[in-house]
């Protein structure tokens, strides 16, 4: 039966996907909550001209992209080859 393998592969993908989604939610809503409840922190300037708020905002954008890169890299390296192997089996 090839099914347990395809199911475990699906479970592995969902685990990674859900962890990364949770990270994304924490990152973005953390930023929003800081804006709502700690304006002085975000107004603080790290160097003159660069406030913590601007830095974090840009970081949220860059990190979002990094998370998609992490997922894609995992999927290309582990998920796709495993799937290919499964499909390659004569029974599927």
């Amino acid at each position: 039966m090839p099914h347990p393998t395809i199911q475990s592969l699906a479970r592995a993908r969902w685990r990674i996907a859900l962890i990364l989604t949770a990270l994304m939610v924490v990152l973005y809503f953390g930023f929003i909550l800081l804006i709502a409840y700690d304006k002085p922190l975000l107004a603080h300037q790290v160097v003159p001209g660069l406030s913590v708020g601007i830095l974090l905002g840009a970081l949220v954008i860059v990190t979002s992209w990094l998370l998609t890169w992490i997922y894609m890299r995992w999927a290309n390296r582990h998920y796709d080859p495993a799937l290919k192997q499964l499909k390659g089996e004569p029974r599927l």
Partner: protein, 520 residues
């Protein structure tokens, strides 16, 4: 409000007058896109070609097309304008518009590609009562599409009037005709390439403009921010009045984050690629392009604040929408203004074309073929219905665009996102993740999401206070997503449990789960 006397505008900007470069760029764009449409029309003979470009689009191309579908004039002109007048607060929007994309990648893109054919309803209806599910999904799709279209059309009319000096009605009709031509003759293939051309133009325009700005500040954004703080105070670098009610902002954030994953014209793009791995790569590219674009608009906004000045910007357009065009004129003269104006026009055209195609797919593929004809319609009939639906939606868009002339329709974009997040997203997630979701449950989730969102938006301050000029609003939040998303999930889960046994056999469910992974 305006610090400059208003007659000074005539001497400082050529906005609102016929600009030869703008008109030339605009005609080149129309000629190129109609050429693409003519080329695509000869390759669009089957429904798979009409709705899904024959599933031949490559990852990089689809990444650009996704970005093109998503980066509307509102995000280019609106965010730059918001930053130019209020500084940091504009960044809250930039981040919000981006953070939905990773969610699309992690949760939606691959299962959608593996399970569906042309619309997201294909996935929700799989193994469930197809009739009612498709009707409810079409309702969610069409509500999202129509509100989004109204906002785009009204914005288009106003912008084109301001930038080309055309009348509002002429502008709307022009947009309508070009958009119908792309979709009607060229289907998804033409629409995809129009998005790609537009995305490249928009990114190039924003990039060049940002470089021109930074060149004045030693190529260092921090110098630019420092100059802004020196002129307008440190407050422009810090959160201001935009987030006075945290709950409102969180609710808007939820609508943006989960609404992106429920936008029918975005979801439809995942069917244009050959497989799930390509869909995955295309979201990675799209996220990078869109994120980079929002970082650029932030530079443009601060550039406009320092170099043009908020007073001069709001003197021309109260909403601040002309910040980027004015900046272009200041840095690159009238020809560059013309180029940016034509890019803004191309942006609107491409977005309405994508919306219309996804609406036409809901009418023809979901409602006509699968509900009315119960899947018995042949290719020729399916294509005819899809084209009639395109004409119909195009006419609706032009009519509504003219009807809502001069109205405040900015809230309709957030309405579209709220419906997408509350009606389409929960049903899609439930049907992908929870095998006990029944047809009745999916319908309950989609109807609850659509209806409650519409009612709460009507009762919200946006409509009651801003538009109807009442003293108070019954519902305190401007965006209802924080209520409607959980409610829609709850309705879907409760009704699924109450409607009892799953209609499908375990064997079929197991096959579906395999298909979600392997694609067949």
């Amino acid at each position: 409000m305006p610090v400059l006397p208003s007659d000074l505008q005539a001497t400082t900007t050529s906005l609102g007058h016929a600009n030869p470069v703008a008109i030339a760029c605009f005609f080149v764009f129309i000629a190129v896109t109609l050429g693409i449409t003519w080329w695509a029309a000869r390759r669009t003979r089957t429904t798979e070609e009409f709705y899904a470009a024959g599933r031949t689009i490559k990852a990089g191309q689809n990444g650009l097309a996704l970005a093109g579908d998503y980066m509307s004039a509102a995000s280019f002109l609106g965010i730059a304008g918001l930053v130019s007048t209020s500084g940091f607060d504009g960044l809250i929007y930039s981040t919000g518009w981006l953070v939905g994309w990773p969610v699309v990648l992690f949760l939606i893109a691959e299962p959608l590609r593996n399970l569906g054919k042309y619309t997201f309803a294909d996935v929700v209806a799989l193994n469930r009562r197809p009739g009612p599910v498709r009707v409810a999904a079409a309702l969610g799709t069409l509500s999202t599409v129509v509100f989004y279209l109204i906002a785009q059309m009204v914005g288009a009319g106003g912008l084109i009037k301001l930038m080309f000096g055309l009348s509002y009605e002429t502008a709307i009709v022009l947009v309508g005709i070009a958009m119908i031509a792309y979709v009607l003759f060229g289907g998804m293939l033409a629409t995809t390439w129009v998005q790609i051309v537009k995305a490249v133009l928009l990114l190039a325009g924003a990039f060049v403009l940002a470089v021109l700005v930074l060149a004045r500040f030693g190529m260092n954004p921090v110098n630019l921010f420092r100059a802004a703080a020196a002129q307008y105070g440190d407050k422009v670098l810090a959160p201001g009045g935009l987030v006075s009610k945290p709950l409102d902002t969180i609710s808007l954030g939820m609508a943006l984050m989960f609404g992106t994953a429920g936008l029918p014209h975005i979801l439809m793009r995942f069917y244009t690629v050959p497989d799930a791995a390509t869909a995955r790569r295309s979201v990675f590219y799209a996220t990078g392009l869109i994120g980079g674009f929002y970082l650029l608009t932030f530079i443009l906004g601060f550039g406009a604040m320092v170099l043009v000045g908020p007073a001069a910007i709001t003197a021309i357009d109260k909403g601040g929408n002309m910040a980027a065009p004015l900046l272009a004129e200041l840095l690159g003269g009238t020809p560059f203004l013309g180029f940016i104006a034509a890019v803004a026009f191309a942006t609107i055209l491409a977005v309405v074309a994508g919306l219309t195609l996804s609406g036409a797919a809901a009418i023809s593929h979901d409602l006509w073929v699968n509900v009315v004809r119960k899947g018995t319609a042949n290719q020729g009939e399916q294509l005819r219905v899809a084209r009639v639906a395109t004409l119909f939606l195009g006419a609706v868009a032009v009519t509504l665009g003219i009807t809502f002339k001069g109205q405040n329709v900015a809230f309709m974009v957030s309405l579209a996102f709220a419906i997408a997040a509350s009606a389409n997203f929960p049903a899609l997630i439930l049907s992908i993740f929870w095998r006990r979701t029944t047809g009745a449950g999916a319908v309950a989730s989609m109807l609850t999401g659509t209806v409650v969102t519409l009612v709460l938006i009507y009762l919200s301050p946006t409509v009651q206070v801003d538009i109807l000029k009442h003293e108070h609003a019954v519902f305190p939040l401007k965006n209802p997503a924080i209520i409607t998303i959980p409610l829609s999930f709850l309705a879907g889960i409760l009704v699924s449990l109450l409607s009892g046994q799953h209609a499908s056999s375990d064997e079929r469910l197991r096959r579906t789960e395999e298909q979600m992974v392997s694609g067949h």
